[in-house]
């Protein structure tokens, strides 16, 4: 367990650095779509929601399904909105 946490922390650290490196010098027209796209990714909590709703207890089912509901709005809506925004960037 503990060694796993260490590895998870490692992953966390690397991801943070990678996140920082990836977003450098974005033109400001892309700020909003980028934010929106990142927001959709943060809907990854959907995976967690699915996992935690796979129970037979009522309270977890309720909590889990609501989590799935909200997270899927975030994911689906987020990607679509991003896509629409980016559609405006097509060169005339």
């Amino acid at each position: 367990m503990e060694s796993q946490i260490i590895l998870l922390i490692f992953i966390l650290v690397l991801s943070i650095f990678l996140g920082i490196e990836l977003i450098t010098k974005v033109p400001s027209t892309l700020h909003t779509p980028l934010m929106s796209g990142a927001n959709a990714i943060s809907g990854i909590t959907l995976v967690g929601a699915i996992l935690s709703s796979g129970s037979s207890e009522l309270i977890t089912i309720i909590l889990g399904s609501s989590a799935v509901f909200f997270a899927s709005i975030n994911v689906v809506g987020g990607y679509l909105v991003t896509n629409r925004m980016l559609g405006m960037f097509k060169k005339k």
Binding site: I5, I11, L12, S15, I16, G19, I20, L22, I23, T24, K25, V26, P27, S28, T29, L30, H31, T32, P33, S36, G37, A38, N39, A40, I41, S42, G43, I44, T45, L46, V47, G48, A49, I50, S53, G54, S55, T60, I61, L63, G64, S65, S66, A67, V68, F69, F70, S72, I73, N74, V75, G77, Y79, L80, V81, N83, R84, L86, F89, K92
Partner: protein
């Protein structure tokens, strides 16, 4: 190979998709494909999660998934282009509440005496809750359901301090003590406090600063997902959450810089505002909007017709060579470029002609005000380079003005005006210029030669 291996390898693949997708979102040419890639990663992750886990009952999951997807779909496709930012805000809030729910659901099952796990849950719930209500308030401000004005009251700092202390105390109790209140009460208290914090965090911030706040909340929702990943020891949540958390923070910072402000200034300027008395004299002219060269470049890059209006400042800066170069680059980029020469621009008759001829600007692209004024509304961008009096709308609008009646170059009728000058100082006639305060004007402060050179560099990539 067992399923867990497949699942985990798929998670790795999904993470790669997110990483590359995020990278591609940072550049206009690849952004769309990047978004597609990242969404494929998400699909992969979800599908593989559904497939394998020892999930007992699929019905609720499927129902919730379907319902959520439909809501997301309609919200995203039906919304007006102009309301997109608030949509992003509310989606983001949903992500936050989802993380909060995941954390809560895990809390109910977990052994309470694992401080690491408790810490993870605490962070998940707290950050998720703040993201949720914060995003809702941001949504309200943007859609003008709530007033966009900073909401300020006496004693704000005191209330905030109290709130923070409570949150810390609940955390300490949850992680180490587990006394005083029941676990369920702890959870509910934490959620309530998180919600309040989210509200109080966003409400004092003005509507104009909302984009930055949303970017920050977005980063939070990533962190919440990341914390949730620790709760259920799931890598892909950690990687994706951390990616979003970190890149969101950087993005927030970039956005602040583009607005020429610091993050703390954005977040906490509301507090200072209480003591300020608004100065009316400034108010009725409105505020000028500065812009930096990088953003100006992006607008120029998209423009199909550009009108350059040189004045005495171009001569002082000796910027004519740089201006010509910029003009050539704009043309190469597909824009139609003209130079509008006002008869009295500069300090001698034909001043602009001398300089532009020196810089080899062809006579064919020089136009006079009367040729260009009638079609000014078709011009995408007017670049006013060190000119002032010759573009002063007072000459046509303000009878009291000493230059009333002089024909000017009516740049204020074009879609966007960039005014390149060093300060808000006036020109030869010594009078203020209302052009600078118009909503379609952007001030590009600095020596004209340097500013234009920077634009040239931007164009050259």
């Amino acid at each position: 190979m067992d399923t867990s291996l497949i699942v985990n390898l798929t998670y790795i693949a999904a993470s790669i998709f997110f990483i590359v997708g995020l990278k591609m979102l940072g550049s206009p040419e690849t952004a769309r494909r990047g978004n597609l890639l990242s969404s494929s990663g998400m699909l992969l992750a979800v599908v593989v999660t559904l497939l394998d886990q020892n999930i007992i009952d699929y019905r609720y999951i499927a129902g919730a998934l379907l319902a959520g997807s439909l809501v997301g779909y309609f919200a995203a496709t039906k919304v007006k282009m102009t309301s997109m930012p608030e949509m992003v805000a509310i989606f983001n809030g949903f992500g936050g509440i989802a993380s909060l729910l995941v954390g809560s659901s895990e809390y109910i099952h977990s052994s309470l005496n694992n401080p690491a796990l408790m810490g993870a849950i605490y962070l998940t719930v707290l950050i998720g809750g703040v993201t949720f209500t914060g995003s809702l308030i941001a949504y309200g401000k943007l859609s003008e359901v709530i007033s966009g004005r900073p909401f300020l009251y006496k004693g704000q700092q005191f209330v905030n301090g109290l709130l923070l202390i409570s949150i810390l105390l609940v955390g300490a109790n949850m992680l180490f003590v587990q006394e005083f209140i029941t676990p369920n009460q702890t959870l509910i208290l934490l959620i309530v406090l998180a919600f309040i914090l989210g509200v109080l965090f966003v409400i004092p911030i003005g509507g104009a600063d909302m984009p930055v706040v949303i970017a920050l909340l977005n980063s939070f929702s990533g962190l919440a997902a990341c914390a949730a990943g620790f709760v259920i020891t799931n890598n892909v949540l950690i990687v994706a959450g951390a990616l979003v958390g970190a890149s969101g923070l950087i993005l927030t910072n970039i956005m602040c810089k583009a607005m020429n402000r610091s993050l703390s200034n954005v977040l906490f300027s509301g507090f200072g505002a209480v003591s300020d008395t608004s100065s009316d004299s400034e108010e009725d002219q409105g505020e000028v909007s500065p812009i930096n060269a990088q953003d100006a470049y992006l607008i120029l890059e998209a423009a199909t017709s550009v009108l350059i209006v040189p004045g005495y400042g171009m001569a002082v800066a000796q910027a004519q060579h740089a201006v010509r170069e910029l003009g050539e680059l704009l043309e190469a980029n597909g824009a139609e470029v003209k130079y509008a020469i006002h008869p009295v621009a500069g300090r001698m008759p034909g001043h602009m002609n001398v300089l532009l001829a020196e810089a080899n600007v062809s006579y064919d692209v020089l136009v006079e005000p009367e040729d260009v004024n009638p079609i000014m509304d078709t011009v995408d961008v007017c670049m006013v380079i060190g000119a002032n009096d010759v573009v002063n709308p007072d000459a046509k609008d303000n009878e009291g003005s000493p230059i009333y009646g002089m024909p000017i170059i009516e740049v204020d009728n074009s879609k966007t005006v960039f005014v390149l000058k060093r300060s808000m100082a006036s020109g030869f006639a010594g009078i203020q210029n209302p052009l600078f305060f118009k909503s379609n004007s952007r001030m590009l402060f600095g020596d004209a030669k340097e500013t234009v050179s920077t634009l040239v560099s931007e164009f050259k990539g």
